[in-house]
Symmetry: C2
Subunit: 169 residues, 2 copies
């Protein structure tokens, strides 16, 4: 898939088929995430892959989007390593860039994914379910991944380009 | 350019040729940015396009990366509209996803770009140079855009996939 087409047609997918995703696919998505730029080149991204049904179910109960997580074949949990982080906003920018690369890679590979941030209200419990130190690893996003069971139409944006370009010099 | 190839070969470009970029190219890059997902679908991204040499020079002096900004034909300044923002980390994640789409689009279009965050130390002054309200618009990133005058080799990452995948369940 062409890069611009991938960016323009990507959409958040919240319902998945039962078809399995492979470890190789998940690792390709994560590798794409690591190609994001990072402030001070600190590469603060860390990942947990969750495929076991019992762990997935427990994490699913930590968000109001339970069915989305349960429907996906796998979850990738994105953590920011606070031992290398240096700035709340800049590290969060970096993690967002990483997550976007992952969403685009999944889309280009014929998979669907969505970025769940509401689960941050229970970020420590997500870390514990992944057996990582919740003090060190700040859980930013849980990304369910699978084969899309939705319409492929991307969601329209609320604002036109003229509305978001607020200055020209 | 293929989407995965774009993600894997994108690099930060800090030196540019004198060749001009068009408004259409800059608007295509911004449009790509607006295709990022956003928390609560708040679409908090706002953009300023800077092409005038005198404004570009004054903004360039607000960062230690003066020569990078001066070398680029245009700057796109990314602002987060605090009137629609709802969470410091989640909005910064969203803005990072927006910026990554822009970097990828520029790369896929044969252009080079880089994300300058260090200039946030003078974010109010950047807003004033763009004639936007520094109280309302939180300047996150300045992105110089132009035709690359650098080696096309992407920067290797410090950590292997095994080092960043910290858990498998």
């Amino acid at each position: 898939m062409n890069a611009i087409e991938a960016i323009m047609t990507r959409k958040s997918v919240r319902s998945f088929k039962e078809q399995k995703v492979t470890d190789e696919q998940l690792e390709q998505i994560i590798l794409a995430g690591t190609r994001a730029p990072s402030g001070m080149a600190n590469e603060p991204w860390r990942f947990a892959i969750v495929k076991e049904d019992n762990v997935k179910s427990r994490i699913a109960k930590l968000t109001k989007h339970t069915k989305v997580l349960e429907s996906a074949d796998a979850l990738i949990c994105l953590f920011m390593d606070t031992e290398v982080g240096y700035d709340v906003v800049k590290d969060a920018n970096t993690m967002g860039a990483c997550a976007e690369n992952m969403l685009l890679a999944a889309h280009a590979m014929g998979l669907g994914a969505v970025w769940i941030a509401e689960i941050r209200k229970n970020k420590e419990q997500v870390a514990i379910e992944c057996s990582v130190d919740p003090e060190r690893y700040d859980m930013m996003v849980v990304m369910p991944v699978g084969y899309s069971d939705e319409s492929p139409e991307p969601t329209p944006r609320k604002r036109t380009l003229d509305e978001v370009i607020i200055s020209r010099k």
